[in-house]
């Protein structure tokens, strides 16, 4: 399972934090600091995996990707495929890119609420919900449309989103 999904910048500032296992604020920050100090010491051409027994217990790993000023980090246990997670980070980033047109750190800072919405469409309760970037985008855009609708008129909302029958 995915224990946490984190986005932090190369200075160690957390931008998005989402923990799928209960962890106190103190522990979360400690984890973020430890993760940052581990990542910031890694040479550029290192592999994308860091073993993290000391932070999240035995059998856990960080899978991370470095984009410009940001680290995208998923903390996983042994039940997930490392490379699969790397792909999922790619999906996450590609979706952000589509949403924000060339996403940069500032987009994520100022739209952290939207990023949470996107993340919720990709990972839920530590499991992968959706791996198809287009599908995620569609769901997220539906949500944003709804946010702008003033009063929610229930019947008019049903059917928003171009659901195609796939069978």
């Amino acid at each position: 399972m995915i224990l946490a999904a984190l986005v932090m910048n190369t200075q160690g500032k957390p931008r998005i934090t989402k923990f799928y296992v209960p962890l106190g604020v103190e522990k979360q920050q400690e984890a973020i600091r430890t993760i940052y100090s581990a990542l910031s010491q890694r040479p550029e051409d290192s592999c994308s995996f860091v073993e993290t027994e000391n932070i999240f217990g035995p059998d856990t790993k960080l899978v991370y990707k470095h984009f410009a000023t940001l680290y995208f980090i998923f903390v996983i246990d042994s039940s997930e495929s490392e490379l699969g997670m790397l792909d999922l980070i790619q999906v996450f980033v590609e979706t952000l890119d589509r949403c924000f047109k060339n996403v940069c750190e500032l987009d994520i800072v100022y739209n952290f609420n939207k990023v949470h919405t996107i993340l919720d469409e990709i990972v839920m309760g530590g499991q992968v919900v959706e791996t198809n970037s287009a599908e995620v985008l569609k769901a997220v855009q539906d949500i944003w449309k709804l946010e702008r609708v003033g009063d929610l008129n229930v019947p008019s909302v049903r059917g928003i989103g171009s659901y195609r029958s796939k069978s």
């Binding site: 246990d77 999922l88 309760g125």
Partner: protein, 1001 residues
């Protein structure tokens, strides 16, 4: 750039970003928090928009690392808001800020349920996501049926159904009972027919969890899983959107293959063949391509396929194909593939007999040991450790040693330990082993435990042809500029015993050896000094006739040490001084050490013990265990080394019988300074062995008592402790003894805690009966299985408890109520025999339960006249017992009074006019009824370590037990034999104003 759409929020974020430092940021955040707090407090005029904005701000602040301890109510309340935007923020922020045990969550269960069963899909999604992220047991109980309905519904959109699947997974983890295997396995089969790959991926995640805990219940899903794989890899009739860089949903492929690894075996030959076809296609059909993302995805599938092949115990062809692929991977530059190649190769070692083919890649693996990336170095280290056998031990260990000089701190400890184990296990010859260990001490002395150098000494002692070599090597190492203390120890010992063999070599005359050793003397710790003193006397002894000059120098050292504070050093100095003057009779006493009996190495024994558990595991389990397994890889065969096979292997003598100890050095005890310590007796003791011949009649194997220096040496258990950690032995995180002691005075608290589980106790004592509730809390993210709780009641207690479930789900707590009835007085306690299995290892602990006698006591308020009357009525044994208690923990009388009160023995202050005495009364409850017990303690102000204790009650048994119980509570542990003279009556303060009560006794 799209902004959050809330101006206030954007402004706040800007402000925080503009802060120059953490301090400014804190000030800004505090200001904002204060603002939000006031606004929430006075909700008049607070618009829904503002509420929404503030709650988003709270989340932002929370993500920055500040605790947001208010506003939870407002957040949760937003869930019930009618507008989508408010509801959404309520759900999202709730799932970030609150954990499953938060009370406020209960308030919204109904709203959440209404959203789930309502007909609004967007609300359903929000609710399912929140429950999937935080849902606890209560959600589980009230929502599971509705979530199941959504999942199997035909009318719901895939968007809702995939979330329902994952939500159900969460609820299942909290409470496995929500899924009834019989009915549900058929549903799962149908769900696997799903055409929407998003839903199918989520369903597959659910299936992994279901099969993992009950593989037999879902065998009917097996063929569907294989079919899905076939469909994905062969026909590829899937939507374009679900191909990722041209690969049909790699996640679904990986998940499906993961599920298949949880099924024990696949017997149906058609299914098996179909599956092997698929796997074969993946293995041969994956090529390395330019595009990184495509490469990642295809290799994710490929690595999973390799894992599945290992699990399936496939035929040789497929296996060797896998090894060939992995061999290719460990040689590539791409770090991710190399990392996983190394990792999977290590895993493969554990399940298949592929050692020979893996050896071909040794050179590449060693290259990775020098990679700049620590993750890769670790994997390479593990793999080298695993693949090491007699044929390549020399190369591998030498590589490890070489690497040790440059290795960073994070990995040195592990490296040193692994090198030591491999050297011992697979040494082609003993001289090489000695050489390796000495190098190891030189390069990483801090990480070489005493056990390891003891072992060197044993081998050298038992092999005559090794002795001169070892002594010469030791002499060489002492010449180096900075010498580790462990090196001084081993070199000191070896030179003491065997330097005479070198006497004719240049620079090795007794005098020269003495000087080079003695150079280190001022800088070493006391235990090492003791070893060196023995070395000196031996060096001296070997110069027959005695070298006068050397004798003067050595005696000078002894003289200087004969008033050292440390008893061991002092004793040796004094004894050796006397011996050195005995002339030829010294030769008998200081003769060379006899050969050690042959025993197995402690280090290797440990490794082998853990090995047994590893043989029957599936690939999946092995995956989880991999890190620890690397240390205990199965023995590759009987021909494993130049070292004698286990039965002939040598080891440290087991702790000697106590009688031999005292016979050997009675003096140590007479001094009262050398206290045998239980922990030391498990480690062999060579210092003692050196001394053994002092006791002429002692058998050759005798080990005298461990000197105190050994007892206190924190470095001593280092290697083993480290080792423990790596085989995942579960250690309590605290002192069981302390917890027990605290609970003996309190009614609730922690009884036991380790990284996986916490056992708490809550108890309610009512006279002779008690309700004790044990709380077993799984702290871990995986289920604890094979949970067994047995209470072994003491004979005087009747205890009843209900059955405990076999499995504790992750983060769940199980309560075990225990009914206790006290039948009679006793100091004994019941014992909780508790065991469970983590993902890796079985853990078993025996814990005393705090069902102590004092729990059945209640202070009895009593007047002076009543006390005197009762006291008089009880005239002597067996109803009134008196003892002089020695070895009492010194404490003021008032503290002792407090102690009594905390034990429910009610002190009656002022009843005894002597301030040094305490009288107390308590009622003991058992099934037979209540017994009034009276206690009187007379302390001696001049010697707080003793006291006179008198206990009286109608019930002789209660009298005796209470007296003993009080003694246990006041006596210092361990009981030190205090050679106190018999107390004269005067010492008891009888002359003082002991007044009326004294006359009664």
């Amino acid at each position: 750039m799209a902004l959050s759409g809330m101006r206030g929020l954007s402004v706040f974020i800007s402000d925080v970003r503009n802060c120059q430092n953490k301090e400014q940021e804190r000030v800004r955040v505090d200001k904002e928090l204060a603002n939000i707090r006031t606004r929430f407090k006075n909700q008049r005029g607070l618009t829904p928009y503002e509420k929404k904005k503030y709650v988003w701000k709270m989340l932002y602040i929370y993500m920055l690392g500040y605790d947001v301890d208010f506003g939870h109510m407002e957040t949760v309340a937003l869930i019930s808001a009618p507008k989508y935007a408010e509801k959404q923020v309520g759900y999202i922020v709730t799932s970030c800020l609150l954990n499953e045990n938060h009370d406020f969550l209960r308030l919204v269960i109904n709203t959440v349920r209404n959203d789930i069963i309502g007909r609004n899909e967007t609300f359903q999604c929000l609710a399912l996501t929140m429950v999937g992220n935080v849902g606890g047991r209560e959600f589980s109980e009230s929502l599971a049926p509705d979530v199941q309905k959504l999942l199997i519904s035909n009318s719901c959109r895939p968007l809702v159904r995939k979330k329902a699947a994952l939500c159900l997974l969460r609820l299942y983890r909290k409470n496995p009972d929500v899924v009834n295997v019989e009915g549900w396995s058929q549903q799962m089969v149908q769900l696997l027919d799903e055409r929407d790959l998003g839903v199918l991926t989520a369903v597959m995640s659910l299936l992994v969890a279901l099969v993992a805990s009950n593989p037999d219940g879902y065998t009917n899903c097996l063929s569907k899983c294989v079919y899905i794989l076939e469909r994905l890899t062969k026909s590829q009739d899937i939507l374009q959107e679900y191909t990722y860089y041209g690969i049909p949903s790699p996640w679904l492929q990986v998940k499906t293959m993961r599920v298949l690894q949880y099924f024990p075996v696949i017997e149906d030959s058609t299914i098996r063949k179909g599956l092997f076809d698929v796997l074969h296609r993946i293995l041969v059909g994956t090529d390395v391509v330019k595009n990184v993302n495509k490469n990642n995805a295809s290799h994710a599938v490929l690595f999973e396929a390799i894992a599945l092949v290992m699990h399936l115990d496939a035929d040789k062809d497929l296996m060797s194909q896998c090894v060939a692929l992995l061999g290719k991977f460990v040689a590539v530059r791409e770090p991710n593939i190399r990392y996983l190649g190394l990792e999977n190769m290590t895993r493969m070692l554990l399940v298949a007999d592929v050692n020979e083919s893996i050896k071909k890649h040794q050179a590449h693996i060693i290259t990775s040991l020098k990679d700049p990336d620590i993750s890769i170095r670790r994997r390479s280290l593990d793999l080298l450790y695993g693949m090491c056998d007699i044929s390549n031990a020399k190369d591998i260990v030498e590589e490890l040693l070489q690497y040790l000089t440059t290795a960073d701190f994070a990995i040195r400890e592990e490296l040193a330990l692994k090198a030591a184990i491999l050297a011992e296990k697979f040494a082609p010859n003993l001289a090489w082993y000695v050489e390796v260990i000495l190098q190891l001490i030189e390069k990483a002395g801090d990480f070489v435990s005493d056990d390891i150098w003891y072992r060197v000494v044993q081998f050298v002692t038992n092999n005559d042809d090794l002795q001169a070599f070892a002594a010469a090597k030791a002499r060489e190492y002492l010449d180096k500029p900075a010498v580790h203390e462990t090196m001084v120890k081993v070199a000191g010992y070896l030179l003491g015993e065997y330097s005479h063999l070198l006497a004719r070599r240049p620079g090795c005359s007794p005098k020269e050896v003495f000087h080079i050793v003695h150079d280190k003397f001022p800088t070493v710790t006391t235990p090492t000094k003791a070893i060196l003193l023995s070395a000196y006397v031996k060096i001296l002894m070997h110069t027959q006739p005695l070298d006068q000059e050397l004798q003067v120098q050595v005696e000078e050292v002894f003289k200087r040490c004969d008033n050292v504070v440390d008893a061991e050093v002092q004793q040796r100095a004094v004894e050796y001084m006397t011996l050195s003057r005995k002339g030829s009779s010294m030769v008998d006493i200081m003769a060379e050490m006899p050969k050690f009996p042959e025993r197995q190495s402690a280090l290797i024994k440990k490794a082998e013990d853990t090995e047994g558990e590893s043989t029957e595991m599936s690939a999946t389990k092995l995956r989880q265990q991999q890190n620890s397994m690397a240390l205990v890889v199965a023995d590759p065969g009987p021909a494993n080394g130049g070292l004698p096979p286990p039965s002939e292997q040598l080891a440290l003598p087991e702790p000697p019988p106590p009688s031999a100890e005292t016979a050997a050095i009675p003096k140590a005890y007479a001094n009262g300074t050398s206290n045998p310590h239980p922990s030391a007796s498990t480690n062999g003791d060579l210092l003692g062995d050196l001394l053994a011949p002092l006791a002429i009649e002692a058998p050759p194997v005798t080990t005298p008592p461990p000197p105190p220096s050994q007892v206190d040496d924190p470095g001593d258990p280092l290697a083993l402790a480290l080792y423990d950690q790596q085989v995942n032995q579960v250690k309590p995180i605290g002192s069981i003894e302390d917890w027990f002691r605290a609970l003996s005075l309190k009614d609730s608290g922690v009884l036991y805690e380790d990284p996986y589980i916490q056992i708490g106790i809550k108890s309610d004592w009512r006279e002779a009966q008690a309700k004790v509730v044990l709380f077993l809390g799984n702290k871990h993210t995986a289920s604890l299985v094979n949970v067994r709780v047995l209470i072994l009641p003491a004979p005087h207690l009747k205890m009843q408890f209900s059955q405990v479930p076999d499995t504790i789900p992750p983060r769940a707590q199980v309560q075990v109520p225990v009914e206790v009835v006290c039948l009679s007085a006793s100091r004994e306690t019941a014992v909780l025999d508790f065991s469970y299995t983590t993902s890796t290892l079985p853990v078993s602990v025996k814990l005393r339960l705090p069902t102590l006698m004092n729990k059945f006591l209640q202070p009895a308020p009593i007047s002076a006249s009543d006390f005197v009357a009762h006291w008089r009525a009880l005239v002597g044994p067996p109803t009134k017992l008196q003892d002089v208690v020695r070895g009492v923990r010194p404490m003021p009388v008032s503290d002792m009074g407090d102690l009594f009160n905390s034990l429910h023995i009610g002190v009656a202050p002022g009843l005894d006019p002597n301030v040094n005495n305490i009288v107390a009364a308590t009622t003991f409850y058992s099934q037979a009824g209540a017994t009034l017990c009276l206690v009187r303690v007379e302390t001696d102000p001049s010697d707080r370590t003793q006291m006179r204790l008198t206990v009286a009650s109608q019930d002789p048994n209660a009298t005796y037990e209470l007296k003993e119980f009080i003694k246990e509570q006041v006596i210092d542990i361990p009981v030190a034999p205090v050679p106190a003279p018999a107390p004269s009556p005067a010492a008891w303060g009888l002359t003082g104003p002991a007044a009326a009560l004294v006359g009664l006794i």
